[in-house]
Every structure is written in C-alpha cells, then in structure tokens.
C-alpha cells in the first residue's frame, strides 16, 4: 500500500494554513493511518471495491486549462467557473450580485476566519473525505450574502483531464449560504478528451445553509469510461432552511457519492433527488445519510435508477431520527427500472428512529417496463423500441424536472436520451 494512494500522505502533513486547518489535516491523516481504506467487510462498502484505486499511485493532475468546456456546455444561463487540475480558473467576470466566488487557497491565505466552522465541520470519518482532507490544496468558496436572492446559478465545472499515467485531483468546495439568502449552485463533472490512463476526482463539498435560507444544489457527473469519482457532500441546515439536492449520475467506471445531511435547527427541509443510469462497465454508488437532530424537519429522498447492460448500481440510504427530534418526517424512495437481465442493483433504504413523534416511510422497487403501458403506446402506432425509450425516459423525467433550471433540465435529459438505445428519435420530439 505504500506505493498506492497513501504514499502521498506524508507530504500533505507539511502543508501550511491556520492552526485549525492543521488540526483537521492531522485528524484526517490519523484516521486514514488507523483505519486504512475500506474493504468489503465495511457495510457501506460491501458492493463497491476500491482496491484497484487504493493500489494506484496517482500523480497530481497538472492541467491548467479546459478549452473544451465552453463548447461542451454552450450558453446555459449559468455563471461558470472551471476547475482544471483541481484549481479554479477565475477570470475577471464578476459573479452574480449577492454572491462571492473565490479560490479556496486565496481565502485560506487572506480570510481564513470565514471558513472556520464551515470547512471541516461536516466531515466525519468517511475515508475518502479524510483523504481529501489530508490532500486538498485548493478549490472554491461560494459565499452567499445575508438575504441575497441570487437568480443566476453559480456553476462549478470540475474537469478531469486524463493523461498517460493515472492522475488525481482533490478539490474542496465550501458553500456558505447566509441566513435568508437564496441561491442555486451547480457542479458538473466533465472528462476532457484524450489520455489513456485513469483519472481520480476526489472531492469534498461542504454546504452550510443558514436560517431561513434556500439552496438548490445540482450535481451532474458525465461518467466517462476511465473516470473515477469518489465524492463526499455534507450539508448542514439551520432552522427553517431548505436544501434541494438534485443529482444526475450517468455511469462511469466508479462513481460514488456520499451525501450526508444534518438538521441542526428546527423546521428545515431537504429534498434529495437523484437519477442514475448504468450500462456496461459502469458502477454507480449512492450512500445517503440524513440525521434528524433537530425536530420538526422534513426529508424526502427520491432516487430513480435505470439499469442496463451489465451495469451495477448501489443505493443505500439511512435516515436517523434522534431522540429529541419530535415532529420529524423522513421519507425515502428508491425505484429502479431493470432494462437488462445482466444489470445489478443493490438497494437498501432504511430508517433508525429513536423518537415517537415521527412520520416516516421507506421503500425500494425494482421492476421492468409496464406491459400495459407498452401495449397502449404500441396500439397507437408507436414502434416498440421507441415506446420502450419513451417509457424509460418518463421514469426519470419527473425527477429531472425538479432541477428547475430549463437549460440544465434539457442538458441532463439529452444526456440520458443519448444513453438510450434509440434515444435520438425522442430527442427531437422533446425539444419541440
């Protein structure tokens, strides 16, 4: 293992920064050294192997540009920052009113107090969050001012640029929404063309939603063949806050998201929506955890999966209602559409409730296309293969629509249609 991922750790320990940051790094390193990387015996890693990743000596990704992004995304009505090699390429364009977007390295150098209590606060003991904690040097800080209403989405575009040897980036994102603010943040994960080796993107995003603030957080991964995505996203909500997470995960050799939410003040609400698609060679893993610490909070987990080819998807959601969290409502739903006999899904939504006054539900389904619906479409002259794609897309469409922003709904819709066997036929129909 000394040749693998952990070989870079000693260098990390020497990195500078304020005292609390050194403490955080030391904790992360200690944790990694004591725990090592997870194996199959770890419940949350039963269906996802990282042995391959752990044994690889990744080099830092030296990329400093990503010219393909503008063409790939077009004018999508968002305010964009590209991260290449894990560092933001901030130009002169000012961000939308009410929000500041800065490089994490700059903020650590000039204004570290802003981050205390926000950076590192949500990261507990997950190994890959700890790895990022030990190794990050840069990233982005998005700070939404008190009572600001920011209509234009702030869009962070994480670019993986594979080389001829394995490369990795460890960017960290901090999103602070001050009380009473409203904002939408989008994170897109794209892979640049070229290169022959694998590329690891190990991110941590920490989100603090202040009292009565509303944050929409969209996360789209493109899932390239050599792309490895190991991400941790932690969100904490103060009283009466709202956090809407909309995740779209389109395949990838290894795409894993740990999404941990914690209600710290009463009356808050989260919607955790997700869509995933797996086909041959894809492994997509979602690990969700919602901690109802404060009372009168509501959580809705709604994930839908499309399982094709020999794809493998994992879904594990845990809702925990703590003893004093009276008036909580916790709902989890994971529905899967099985499009091939060779695809696999391991799904486990579950709840732990230590409180009497709770409304809760959880369930998962795995099924094929509905024969009655298929016949209805065919009885109206729609060819079977087109009918199948129409129903497949319809299965996830409701969730995609919740992304809200029209250009992002269109982009994710098209990306899913592009992955369906006869999706081109539908694409034209939907745009009109």
């Amino acid at each position: 293992m000394a040749d693998g991922l952990l070989s870079v750790i000693p260098k990390a320990a020497a990195a500078g920064g304020p005292g609390w940051l050194s403490d955080l790094r030391a904790l992360a390193i200690t944790h990694l050294e004591e725990q090592g990387f997870p194996g199959k015996k770890n419940e949350r890693w039963r269906f996802t192997s990282v042995r391959d990743v752990v044994d690889t000596a990744f080099e830092p990704d030296p990329t400093t540009s990503a010219a393909f992004v503008d063409e790939a995304l077009g004018d999508d009505g968002t305010w964009r920052v590209v991260l290449a090699g894990g560092r933001p390429l901030l130009g002169d364009a000012a961000p939308p009113d009410g929000v500041s977007v800065r490089s994490l390295a700059d903020v650590l150098a000039t204004d570290p107090d802003l981050l205390e209590g926000h950076l590192g606060a949500a990261v507990a003991t997950e190994q890959f969050a700890a790895l990022n904690g030990a190794l990050f040097t840069d990233g982005v800080v998005v700070h939404v001012a008190k009572n600001a209403d920011v209509a234009t989405p702030v869009h962070l575009v994480h670019v993986a640029t594979p080389g001829d040897a394995p490369r990795a980036v460890y960017p960290r994102v901090v999103l602070i929404a001050e009380p009473g603010s409203r904002a939408t943040v989008v994170e897109s994960f794209l892979t640049a063309p070229g290169g022959s080796a694998r590329h690891l993107t190990n991110t941590v995003a920490e989100v603090s939603v202040g009292a009565n603030a509303r944050v929409e957080h969209v996360r789209i991964t493109d899932g390239a063949e050599r792309s490895l995505q190991l991400a941790y996203l932690g969100a904490r909500l103060d009283r009466d806050a709202f956090y809407g997470s909309r995740v779209v995960a389109l395949g990838g050799a290894l795409t894993r998201l740990e999404l941990f939410v914690r209600f710290e003040g009463p009356g808050a609400e989260v919607e955790l929506d997700g869509v995933y698609h797996v086909d041959d060679g894809d492994h997509v893993d979602h690990q969700l955890r919602v901690d109802h610490v404060a009372g009168r909070c509501t959580s809705h987990v709604r994930y839908r999966g499309l399982l094709d080819g020999r794809g493998h998807a994992v879904f594990n959601a845990m809702g925990i209602v703590h003893r004093d969290a009276a008036g909580s409502a916790a709902h989890q739903e994971n529905r899967n559409l099985l499009l091939s006999d060779d695809a696999t899904i391991d799904t486990k939504p579950h709840l732990e409730i230590d409180c009497d006054d709770v409304k809760a539900s959880h369930g998962s389904t795995i099924g094929a296309l509905d024969a009655g619906q298929l016949f209805y479409l065919r009885s109206r002259a729609i060819p079977e293969r087109e009918a199948r794609d129409i129903l497949t897309f319809a299965f996830v469409r409701e969730i995609l629509d919740r992304i809200g922003h029209a250009s992002l709904v269109a982009r994710t819709s098209e990306a899913i249609l592009a992955r369906l066997p006869h999706g081109e036929a539908l694409r034209e129909g939907l745009s009109s």
Partner: protein, 246 residues
C-alpha cells in the same frame, strides 16, 4: 373490410372465444353486446394485438391482410384503433408528445409528411373540439389523474387525431355519467364516415341510443348467437341475454 372466421382464443390456457364469426363492411357500425365474461374485451384485445391472447384456430382478415401476423403498432399504422375500456395512465409522458409520436407514426405509414410541433398543435386543437376536450389536458401526462370521463374523451380525441379505418370501442360507455356519455357519443358520431368501420362493444343498450348501429350481434360464451338490426338491442334489454342466448 374485416372478416373474422371461426376464431378460437385462449387466455391463460382457458378457452374464451369459441368459434366467432363476424364480417364488417366499410362505412358500417356494428355493435357487439354480451354479458360479462362472454369474451367482448378478449375480442377487442385480439384485434389490437395484445400479448397473452393465444389464437388456436380461425383467422382475422383486414383489408385482405392477415391481421394476426402484424405487430400492434403495424395494425395501428394501417388504421386499426382500439378505444380502451380502461385507458392506461402514463406518468412522465405528456399527452401532446404521445399523440404527436402516434400521429407521425401513422403519417409515415401512409407516406405523408410528418407534422412539426406548430402544425401538430394546430391539428390537435381542431381535433380536441370533437369531444370538447379541455386543452389543459393536452399538456398533462397521458391519462394521469384524469377523471373517468376525461379518460374516455381522451380516447375519442386520439381516435379523431389518428383517423382510423377500423375503430373498436371497448365499453366506451362504462363509468360515464349521462352528460359525458352524450359528449363522447356525439364525438363518435361525428367520426362516422363512409370510409370508416366501427365495432362498438357494450354491455348495455344505453350507448346504442346515441350511437345507432347498422347491425347488432349478441356474444354469449365466446360465440355470436344472434344477429339483427338495431331493434335487437332494445329487445335484449327487455328479455335479457339468457333468453336470446339460449
């Protein structure tokens, strides 16, 4: 136009149709009446091509073609239309998108130019008038959350848009109150034409007061046991299936 000869059909291994004969000419409207379990819905599904209906004997010829050899979508493209007794809800697919795909599939088969979005909307609005369909329903997901009456109107709206040569109406009157029945029937009557044949399947005579058939057939235990003109319907209502079926 449609010739059914000695049709035997099994569902889940059980014989449902047991030697059904029926002939329908272009421009005619025939009613099939029968008690529950006589095989009425089986006949409509076999004509439309649903899986799970095993034809063990007999034939169905439509415009000189062996209908049973065609896939459901091929039948529909050639002008066969089934108005469902229980229209299917399809969340996530808008009515207008669904119908545009259907209309253009039929137009492709006929060698006509496909309609673009604007042309289709104009076309659909015209057709919606036939059954006074609320235009708001066009944007909603197919049949999702529609009332019973709205679903049946939506079926006749689709029929108006697809302009079939053979329309099979499977218990279109079921679940309709008297006002909805009148609107739906008027829609169907507006679509009667010398080029179009209709097979109206119903349990009750009530519908046939509105849609007056050229012929009435009585289906009992998988066979046509009696045929006559429109007066047969009221005779049935008075005397019951048991007596006529005997």
């Amino acid at each position: 136009m449609l010739k059914i000869e000695n049709l035997h059909v099994r569902v889940d291994g059980k014989a449902i149709l047991k030697g059904l004969d029926l002939e329908l000419e272009q421009g005619q409207v025939h009613a099939i009446m029968g008690p529950n379990g006589s095989g009425k819905s089986t006949l409509s599904y076999v004509l439309a091509g649903r899986d799970g209906y095993e034809v063990t004997e007999g034939s169905i010829t439509y415009d000189g073609v062996d209908l049973l050899a065609l896939e459901p979508e091929q039948r529909a493209a050639k002008g066969v239309f089934l108005a469902f007794q229980y229209p299917v809800e399809i969340p996530g697919v808008s009515n207008v998108y669904f119908l545009k795909a259907a209309v253009n599939a039929v137009r492709r088969e006929r060698g006509e130019k496909e309609l673009d979005a604007i042309e289709f909307m104009r076309f659909a609005r015209e057709k919606a008038k036939v059954v006074q369909l609320d235009p708001a329903l066009m944007k909603r997901a197919v049949n999702s959350g529609f009332s019973g009456g709205e679903k049946k109107r939506n079926e006749i709206f689709q029929m108006a848009a697809l302009e079939p040569r053979l329309a099979i109406l499977d218990e279109t009157d079921s679940g309709l109150d008297i006002d909805a029945l009148r609107i739906v029937s008027e829609g169907v009557n507006a679509l009667r034409s010398p080029e179009r044949a209709m097979l109206v399947i119903t349990h009750y005579q009530r519908l046939l007061d509105y849609i007056v058939p050229d012929r009435v057939h009585v289906l009992v235990d998988g066979k046509i046991v009696h045929s006559g003109d429109k007066t047969l319907a009221s005779e049935l209502e008075e005397r019951g299936y048991a007596e006529l079926g005997g």
